[in-house]
């Protein structure tokens, strides 16, 4: 028994050590860039491998903005879908529809990227992009010209990719609502809408927040599909309809072509920043969940 305990302890410790080793490796490999650029690396907006000027801000901006817009699109859609699937349709229909939604999560990222290139990008140029410019063009975020590959296109791709996760977790959370609570409100003479907003969604809230955080983690780290549609331009455009770039995309695009040591090191430092962002998101998710559970 004692031996078994030691073996399992070894497993647990080695996993924790792996995470630490990963972090130290990232840290030491990015040291040349850290020493040369210091804090300006975080705030510089120019990324020019030829002149060896490296600033991370366009990529941090691209990562955060695409993920945030993806959430704005995906969260209402996912919650709506989950409510519909659990409250409004017969079990068999719900099962079939849920299966189709979950299939999206199984599509390889690169295949979604291909779809993005051949379907979404042309659709962004016309009609969606032109429509946004016509209706909302007075806001700088939606000013023309319309390119096709853009921050908005990337955000839409991300939204599609995180919808299955958020929908599925929200559905599970909704299904844990005690029947007795639901019936208590129904029997008082409440509409279905009141049951959903007053009992089901409040009860499912911690679960929904967990799902959203998982989706955000996925969006921030997603690489292939968004690389294929975002335009890969290291800039911070005023308009969401202009091309941009993300941390994950630029690493994937440039790593094999990086010839100078400082270029490689700068890319690894971008990886370090990405790592820190995802860790922060995870910690936030845990803190929020702990607070939610404590409220119960």
């Amino acid at each position: 028994m004692e031996k078994f305990r030691l073996v399992t302890a070894a497993f647990a410790i080695s996993l924790a050590a792996l995470a630490l080793a990963l972090f130290t490796q990232l840290l030491t490999s990015s040291l040349p860039a850290v020493e040369r650029f210091g804090l300006t690396f975080l705030f510089d907006t120019i990324w020019d491998p030829v002149m060896e000027v490296f600033g991370a801000l366009p990529f941090v901006y691209g990562t955060l903005v695409t993920s945030l817009i993806a959430l704005l699109i995906a969260v209402p859609l996912s919650i709506g879908a989950a409510v519909f699937l659990t409250q409004y349709v017969p079990t068999r229909t719900s099962y079939l529809l849920s299966f189709l939604i979950e299939i999206i999560a199984a599509i390889p990222s690169v295949v979604i990227g291909l779809w993005g290139i051949f379907v979404l990008i042309p659709f962004m140029r016309d009609p969606l992009g032109t429509f946004l410019v016509e209706c909302l063009g007075f806001i700088p975020l939606f000013q023309g010209p319309v390119f096709g590959p853009s921050i908005m296109t990337g955000a839409i791709i991300l939204a599609i990719m995180i919808i299955p996760i958020i929908t599925s977790i929200t559905k599970d959370a909704i299904n844990t609502t005690p029947e007795l609570q639901r019936e208590g409100l129904v029997a008082l003479g409440s509409t279905r809408w009141e049951v959903i907003t007053k009992i089901i969604l409040p009860y499912a809230r911690p679960g929904i927040i967990g799902g959203v955080m998982l989706g955000l983690g996925r969006a921030v780290g997603e690489t292939m599909a968004i690389t294929m549609v975002i335009g890969n331009t290291p800039s911070i455009p005023a308009s969401l309809l202009a091309p941009g770039d993300t941390l994950a995309s630029v690493i994937a695009n440039q790593f094999s072509e990086a010839t100078s040591a400082i270029h490689t090191s700068a890319l690894i430092e971008l990886g370090l920043i990405l790592f820190v962002i995802t860790v922060v998101i995870n910690i936030c998710a845990r803190l929020i969940l702990r607070r939610e559970v404590a409220r119960e």
């Binding site: 017969p90 079990t91 609570q181 208590g184 409100l185 129904v186 008082l188 003479g189 409440s190 009992i199």
Partner: protein, 250 residues
């Protein structure tokens, strides 16, 4: 105001399972009608058809007529029917996110009452009606779930009373409670009949005998016998009823 209920040829199903078969009966106003029978006989389904809760379960189906003061329940909006026919469940189910007083007037809030003084007054009125006011007057802002089981069930009865229903359905309201709490709730039910029509499902025959005016015996989805409680328990006309109340099966 209290109302009478008339059930005509009621049939109910869960999927393929036929759980109520051609049940016809009347429940008089200002009386307590008890429904007894062994587990699975359809007694809970019967009262859940009256406030149209049965149909909220997937695959459930109902046929037949139920009249509430000659108004066909199945021709009306279920939401408005449920506000005229209140329900108390097997286990107390106060809303955990609401305080004691919020729980008491939850139904009024649903109906759009926002005036705080009106709500507070109504909460006091119904909590007094169920004999809970003196016990909880200093705990009105605590969560409804912080009360004891018996208190929670009386809070749920108060919650049902607050929307001023005409009929109150009770589905084994004491089955999760200790004997003392059970006694208090039985006293309460007995007092409530002055103002409401009460239909109570129970598997406790002593309880039916103690508080009800009329008793219906259901077996395998069929209404076997229905009559004044005293007569039914002392001189059952049907052999099945006789065997059930004498404890030979169930």
């Amino acid at each position: 105001m209290s109302s009478e209920i008339e059930i005509e040829d009621l049939n109910a199903w869960f999927g393929e399972k036929h759980v109520l078969k051609d049940v016809s009966m009347e429940m008089e106003k200002n009386r307590i009608t008890a429904i007894i029978g062994p587990s699975g006989c359809g007694k809970t389904t019967l009262i859940r058809c009256i406030n149209r809760m049965h149909e909220t379960v997937p695959e459930a189906r109902v046929e037949g007529r139920i009249l509430l003061n000659e108004l066909d329940v199945y021709q009306e909006d279920p939401v408005s029917i449920r506000s005229r026919i209140g329900m108390v469940f097997q286990r107390p189910n106060p809303f955990p996110t609401m305080s004691v007083s919020e729980n008491a007037v939850a139904g009024l809030k649903l109906r759009g009452t926002r005036d705080r003084s009106v709500l507070a007054e109504k909460a006091k009125e119904v909590l007094m009606a169920v004999g809970l006011w003196d016990e909880v007057r200093n705990e009105l802002n605590k969560p409804g779930t912080s009360l004891s089981g018996g208190q929670q069930q009386r809070l749920c009865i108060a919650r049902a009373l607050a929307v001023e229903p005409e009929v109150i359905l009770m589905d084994e309201p004491c089955s999760a409670l200790d004997p003392v709490s059970t006694m208090r709730i039985e006293d309460l039910i007995y007092r409530l009949r002055e103002n409401y029509t009460i239909i109570i499902v129970t598997h406790n025959m002593q309880q039916a005998a103690r508080i009800s005016d009329r008793t219906a015996f259901l077996y395998m989805g069929e209404l076997i016998e229905y009559g004044p409680t005293k007569r039914l328990f002392e001189k059952p006309e049907n052999e099945l009823t006789e065997r059930y109340i004498s404890g030979r099966f169930g």
